[in-house]
Structure formats: C-alpha cells, structure tokens
Amino acid sequence: MILWAVIALVGMAALAWVFRFAGQSVTGNAPKFRDMPYGVAFGYVLGAAALLWLIWAYTQGRSSEQAIANKFFFLRIAIEGFILFAIAAWVFRVLGRSVGTAWSKKMFRSMPLTASFGILTIIIYAIFAIFAGVIAPYGQEQIIPGVAANIVPGGDPALGGDPEFYFGTDQIGRDILSRLIYGAQNTVGIAFATTLLAFFIGGTLGFLAATLGGWLDQVLSRMVDVLMAIPSLIFALLLMTIASVWAPQLGIPLTVFMVIIIAVIDSTRVYRLARAVGQNIVVMDYIEAAKLRGEGLGYLVFKEILPNATAPLLAEFGLRFCFVFLTIAALSFLGVGIQPPLADWGTMVRDLGGFVNYAQFAPLAATAPLLAAGAIALLTVAVNFVVDWMLHKSSGLKE
C-alpha cells in the first residue's frame, strides 16, 4: 500500500515536469509556463489526478451492483449536490443581474458564485422558517396514526421507504421533512434573536468602553476577560442546568433562559471587536472635532462611530450567528437546549444518531440523522460565504 503511494507520488512528480516542459514547448515559452514554479506544476497534476479519481468514484457510485454503489453512495450524493447547488447559484445570479433595481443589479454583477449560493440558501431557509406552518405537510409534534416509525428516507418501498414520507419518519413515527422545516423556525429563529441580543449588549458596551476609556473600560474589559476565560460550551451547559431548575419555578420557558445565557456569553466576543474597532475610530480627527464641538456621548457613539463600524460588525454578525447556531444545536444535542417535542436539528441528530452505523450496507437508513446535520452544515457554509464576500467588499480589496 505504502509502496503504491510512493510510486504514485513519484509518477506524478515526473508527470508534473513533463507537463511543464510540454507546456513550454507547445506554447513557444509563453510567460505562464516559462515562469511556472515546479510546485505549481505539481499542483496542477495533483489536481487533475484528484479530479480523475472523483469521476471514477462517481461512476462506481452509480454502479448497478448494490454493494459497490453503497460504498460510494455519500460521495455520489455530495457530487450531485455540489453540481446542483452550483447550477442553482449560477441561475440565481443570472436572475439577480437581470431583475431588480440598478443597485441590486450592480451588486450581483460583482458577486462571486459562492456568495450568490450563500444568499440563495439563506433566502430559502428564511422562507422555510417564516412559512413553516404552511409548507410543512404535518405538524412538528404530530405522530401520524397508522404510520410506522423509522421509515427509511428515499421513498423506495423496496428499501424500506414510503413515497408518502420521502425523508422518512423518526423513532416515534413523526415526519422528518416536517420536523426539518419546523426546525428551521425554532433553531434559526432562536439563533437570530440570540445573536441580535448579543450584539446589542456587546456592541453598546464596547463602544462605550472605547469612547470613555478610563476605569469604565478597565472594569468592563476585566469582566469580559473573566467570562472569556471559562470554556463557553461548558459554562453554557452549567448555567443551563441551573436555569432548568429555575425555569419551572418562575414559570418562564427555558428557551428564554437559553437565549439570554448564550447572548451574554457571546456578547463578550462582540464587546472585544466593538471596542477594538471603536478605538481605531475614536482617534480620528473627526471624533476630536465632534468632541471639541461639545457633542454628547449618544451623538458620538451612534452618529460618528457606529456608521463607521458597520462593515466589521456586520461581518462579525454573520460569523457570530453561525457560532450561536452551533451552540444551540450542541446544547440541544446534549439535552439542555430546545426541549422536545419542539423540533430542533441538534436534537434530531442525537435522536437518530444510531443509524449512522448502517452507513456501510444501508446508506439510505444512515441518511436520516444526516439530513438535520446537513441542514446545519449548509446554513453555516452559506452564512460564511456571504460573510467572506462582505468582508472582501468592505476591506476594499479589488480582484
């Protein structure tokens, strides 16, 4: 095995040299090939080899022989999904370029495909979250009478599926598709509210610390240091355990506690950023001019500082949203987050997790927990793509 790997590497190394030499002689020493470092040539060959392997693996995945096809099932899905999403993003971008106002058209023209994919995905999630009640075929807690539990996704009766429940049913016979859609509402909605709260707390305090400085800055910053010193997930877990005792006593839903706890923990990160960005802005001459004019604190923070800090804060908002979202999913997975019977992606992964063991011989069955995990992953990736794009735009980088 190692021998084969070495032979393949040496072969590729030789091929890289041949590739560069051939390029040089065919194009008559064009600058592209002439100035190409060997490492780049090797990279091209390695990339080509990986692409060839993917194509081979994909044909294996579509093989009529079940045993071989099962082995490459997830790779096949990934490749098909990738191509499908790429096409969807491209179509969306073309649409955006021809429809809408001059401003939105201009925005779409300079947009990379990754960003248009991210925006498209976020829009779809938002639609699902807002209209969950209309779109979902069943209720999120509805146990449908006469329907078996654990129907395999795929809708193929021969493999244990049911066309009625294309995404299958869970361990007590609820429709997974409906729960996924309601999950968007619960998980994403709560994450959004939490992030907003975290930004409100962290942003306000951060700007105040940057503008006023002195002892207020010291007190706030040291408090934040203490909070940040505790591992956030474990800290959240601890507080949630306490809150789960208080919640029934006080008659406040546990979810409210969760929102506040995660918001406070995450606001420390926002505070750090807002303070750093604010400090850079505070030293500007226009802030000095405003101070000398006799402007109050409110005007300084909201009219002079905040508009200049929106770009980094917005980018951080996207990232922070992902982290909050993952924290909620993690807490739910651990059993202290969003409580059943409310549908939540983290809980769904935990409940159906056992099926992953079937991946080798019954990949469709293993898909059940992966649907919720995939929903989480997709949104995280999408948000990050959009954030990257916004960062790139706000940093003023060209090309």
Partner: protein
C-alpha cells in the same frame, strides 16, 4: 556601449483597474536615461509619477497593467523578460527607495540584517563583506555612529536616518539605477537637507543613474540633470534642469513655477493696548510625566495670522491642543477676548467652544467618511446656531459658496467623492459654520500639492479679510509662512525661541535656530544646495547643526 541609454521606455501606456473598468494612468510617455544621469519626475498627486517610476523597473502594482509600449533596461526588454531574469535585475542592478522608510523597513529585524539580504541573496557579497560594506556606506552617507547604527532596530533611529539607511540598502549591490520615490517628502526641512546631500553625493560617487520622483520643484532642482513634468498621465515637457527653470515653455509648468509668488500685503502693526483675541500665557504642558511645553507665551490679534513654525516634535501641535482644551496645561492660562478659558474643553460652555475652531492637517481623517458634505457642515450650524429646516439649508449653501464649491453639486456627496483640496475646503466650511473669531490651522496645506495648497491659502486669506478672523497657522513650511503670516513664532523643543512680525523674522540677524530653518528651505536655484553645503561645511548640515545648538 557608452552612448547606449540605460533605460529606454517607448510610448508606455499604463492602466489601472477600478470598478471593473481599466482607466488610463499614463498615456504614451517616453523616457530615456543614460548611465550616471539623474532624471527628476515631477507632477501633482495622481499624475502617475510613482506608477511610471515603478514601470521603469518593469513592475506594476496590483490592479495596474502596462497596456502598450516597451521598457528596456540595458538592452533587456523588461516586459517580456522571464521571472528569473527579472529576479537577477531587481535589487541587484535596479533598486528602489520608497517614500516612507518607516513603513518600508521590517520592524522585527535589525537594519543590518535587512541591508545584507540583497547582496547575500544575489550572491554579490558574503555576509561579512556585505556588513563591512554597509558600515562604509553608512559612513559615506554621514550617518552618526556608522559602526553601530546598523545593529539597531528601525524604531531606534530617526526618520531622516532611516531614509538614509534605506538609500544605503539600495546602494548595497551597487545598482546601475535607483528609483527614489519622494524620499524626503515626509521629512522636516532640516533633515531633508541631510538626505538630499547624501543622496546626491552617493549617486555621484558611484555614477549611478537615478529617477527622482517628487512634487517639490525646489528639491528636484537640486537633484536632477533633466526634469520631466507630468500632468494627469501626459508628459508636459522635458528639458535640462537649468533650461527648464530659466525658461519653461508650457503654461502648466509656468503655473507650477509661479506658485511660490503668492504673498499677502503687509498689515499695519497692532495698536498697543489692543486686547488680543487669543492670548497664550506662560503655558507649561506635559504628556504624562514627559514635559513638552515650557513657558510658552504669545498673543493673536483680530484679523491677523500668527504662524507657528518649528520641526516635528517642537510642540506646535501641543500648543494648539492646550488652546482647544484637549490637553489642559500644567501651568499658565489661555485667554480669549481677555477672559480666562477653563483649561479642560469639557468644562467650557457651548459659546466658549464655538469661539475656537480647528482645521486639521489630514482632511481624510477630519471628515466622517459616512456623512455627506451637507450633514458635516449642517451639524455645527444646528448645534451652535440652532438653525433647522430651510434656514439651516440656506446657511450651509452660503458656507459652500464661501468656500467656492457649488452647493447643489456637493451637498449630497460623500467625502470620498472629493479631491484632497476640496476636502480641506469642507474642513474650512465646518470651522466657519460655528462663526468663530479664531481658527487653528494645523498644517492644513502640507498634505496638498502646491497648486492646490496655494488655492487654500488664497481662500483663507480672503475669508480673513471678509470676516476679520484670526488664524493660528501651524506649519513647518517657510514658504507658507512667507505667503500668509503677519507674525511668526518659532518653536524648538517646546520653547518659543523667537517671535515677532514676519518682516523682522525674514531679515537677519536671527536666532541660530531660525537661521538654520530659513536657510534649509530649498530654493529654485540649482546651485543652492552646493552653495549651502559649502557655506555650512560638510559636518554642519541638518541634524548635526541642530545637535550643536
């Protein structure tokens, strides 16, 4: 071989990319440079000087491309040369000296480590040999302690010394061509002399060809054999330095030459007993425990301009901060109209704040980039005068007209959509909006091109006559002082070393420091530097002269 030009650029067109469009930067410029010749490239900012200078190395910044033309260095076509060939040339035979040495040195490594990198990488010399050569170059460039200065970190030496270290680094491989990109623009006049003198010496000693990029005509007159004038990417004219200075043929060149002629008529002396608008009395100030001002006193009268002169670190701006109340003085007081002002600006009332306004050096950081011009000017109008709605708009329009900008055209624009000079005008309008008696102008023209700066000075002079404003004009440029000041205050190390009416200041005898400042201002005479150096003696230029005082 000897007559073969070293650099030959033919019909070079350069384009820069912005908003998905390629915009022209340089439109078909020719450039020829012989061995040992120094070419001065001048023009205002945005004229494409630096881009052309870099193109002479066959290099373009990101987002810039050479769309047409040819660049040859010693017979090698740099545009088609392979990366390997260029690697051999750059650093070894072509060197580059950047404008800001402080930003160009790696702060994490000692100067000598950075100095030897070129020769060692190119295999010109070994490390030991290169270090010895570096020390020799430091000595030739008249750096203090040449034996040990190379073993310091960049932050441990002064700006002028750093700039000379960079020149030494550029010389380390004995290149055939050095490109100097505004090497003295960020320096004080006294330091500038040192750098100019040493650059000129070393270029002569090693018979190196050089392209000297600058916007300062007087500087280029000292350095260059030939001068090329650029305007918005087009060549205006090229000629031998003496010919060019004596008889420029093009209108634009003439206008550049004429800038320094602006001078205000002299005003009658202040009546004795008149109450000064602002009076600084025996002010001492310090940052933390470091004292920066010692017993500073001077008066500013209505309708007059007091220029505060001195090199950086002399306490000019600190004095301004004391007057505005940003830095409460340790001792002494500030009087406005004979009334003592509270030391801290937070303790001043709205009317006291209104009376003292400020215009900043960097218009870029003085205007909030997220506010429109209308909003920026309207804020003090509303804040101090309490005007709203149509009245406010009317006042803003009036102010825009006063600073010679068309209100309808500029009201909704953002600062980023204005040129440097226009931004500075907005800064002036914002100060005027408060209807003050007294304005502090902190180096307001030093970041601007000469033509633009002259426009600002004329505007300020006109406003002074119309509104009988008093200015405190902080500057290190004596040409500006000559143009606008009524009285001059010379500062050094936080003390006032000399003060009086302008005419007395420009007439000898002077305080030794004033004399040094005055004689360090480059003049348009190409022999000025040579004469000056002869007069002062080699050991008595710039830093050395200051240290002796």
């Amino acid at each position: 071989m000897t007559d073969q030009p070293l650099v030959k650029m033919r019909d070079v067109w350069l384009e820069g990319r912005s908003d998905e469009v390629w915009n022209p930067i340089i439109n078909g410029v020719d450039l020829t440079l012989k061995r040992g010749e120094v070419l001065g490239l001048i023009g205002e900012s945005g004229a494409g000087k630096s881009t052309l200078g870099l193109a002479a190395m066959g290099y373009t910044r990101d987002g810039v491309r050479i769309s047409k033309g040819s660049v040859e260095f010693d017979g090698i076509d740099l545009l088609t040369a392979s990366a390997a060939v260029k690697r051999e040339l750059l650093g070894k035979r072509i060197a580059y000296v950047a404008q800001s040495a402080a930003a160009s040195f790696n702060p994490a490594h000692k100067l000598m480590d950075q100095h030897v990198e070129g020769p060692v990488q190119h295999g010109v010399m070994g490390r030991g040999e290169s270090e010895a050569d570096g020390i020799e170059l430091y000595r030739k460039l008249r750096l203090p302690n040449p034996d040990e200065i190379g073993f310091r970190y960049p932050h441990q030496v002064s700006g002028g010394q750093l700039q000379r270290c960079m020149t030494a680094m550029a010389m380390s491989c004995r290149p055939d061509l050095i490109i100097f990109d505004e090497p003295t623009t960020a320096l004080d006049v006294t330091t500038q002399i040192e750098v100019l003198a040493s650059i000129r010496d070393i270029v002569e000693q090693f018979d190196t060809a050089a392209i000297y990029i600058t916007h300062d005509l007087a500087v280029v007159a000292q350095m260059a054999d030939t001068i090329k004038v650029l305007l918005k990417g087009d060549e205006v004219e090229t000629a031998d330095t003496r010919t060019m200075l004596a008889a420029p043929t093009q209108e634009y060149t003439k206008s550049l030459w004429a800038v320094r002629s602006f001078e205000r008529p002299l005003k009658p002396a202040v009546q004795t007993g008149a109450v000064p608008v602002v009076s600084v009395q025996n002010v001492d100030a310090s940052y933390g425990t470091v004292p920066v001002l010692h017993d500073v006193s001077f008066d500013m009268h209505e309708g007059r301009t007091v220029a505060v002169v001195g090199e950086s670190g002399s306490g000019k701006s600190t004095t301004a901060r004391c007057i505005t109340g940003l830095l409460p003085p340790k001792a002494g007081q500030i009087l406005v109209d004979g009334q003592v002002m509270p030391a801290d600006y937070r303790k001043r009332n709205k009317d006291q704040l209104r009376q003292v306004q400020m215009i900043y050096q960097m218009a870029d950081t003085a205007l909030n980039p997220r506010m429109s011009i209308g909003q920026i000017i309207a804020r003090p109008v509303q804040f101090y005068l309490g005007l709203t709605g149509a009245e406010k708009r009317k006042k803003v329009d009036d102010l825009l007209e006063q600073i010679e900008l068309e209100p309808t055209q500029y009201y909704h624009r953002l600062p980023s959509e204005l040129s440097g000079g226009q931004k500075q005008r907005i800064g002036i309008a914002r100060a005027l909006a408060a209807e003050p008696k007294f304005i502090i102008c902190d180096e307001v023209t030093s970041a601007l091109d000469q033509l633009v700066a002259e426009g600002i000075l004329r505007l300020l002079a006109r406003l002074q006559d119309e509104l009988s404003l008093s200015y405190m004009f902080i500057t290190h440029d004596l040409a500006t002082v000559r143009a606008i000041a009524d009285e001059v205050v010379v500062m050094k190390d936080g003390r006032v070393v000399e003060q009086g009416p302008k005419d007395d200041m420009f007439r000898p005898p002077h305080h030794a420091y004033t004399d040094l400042l005055l004689s360090s201002v480059p003049e348009m005479d190409p022999d000025w530097l040579t004469n000056l150096l002869n007069e002062r003696g080699v050991d008595n230029i710039g830093d050395a002269a200051v240290d002796k005082m």
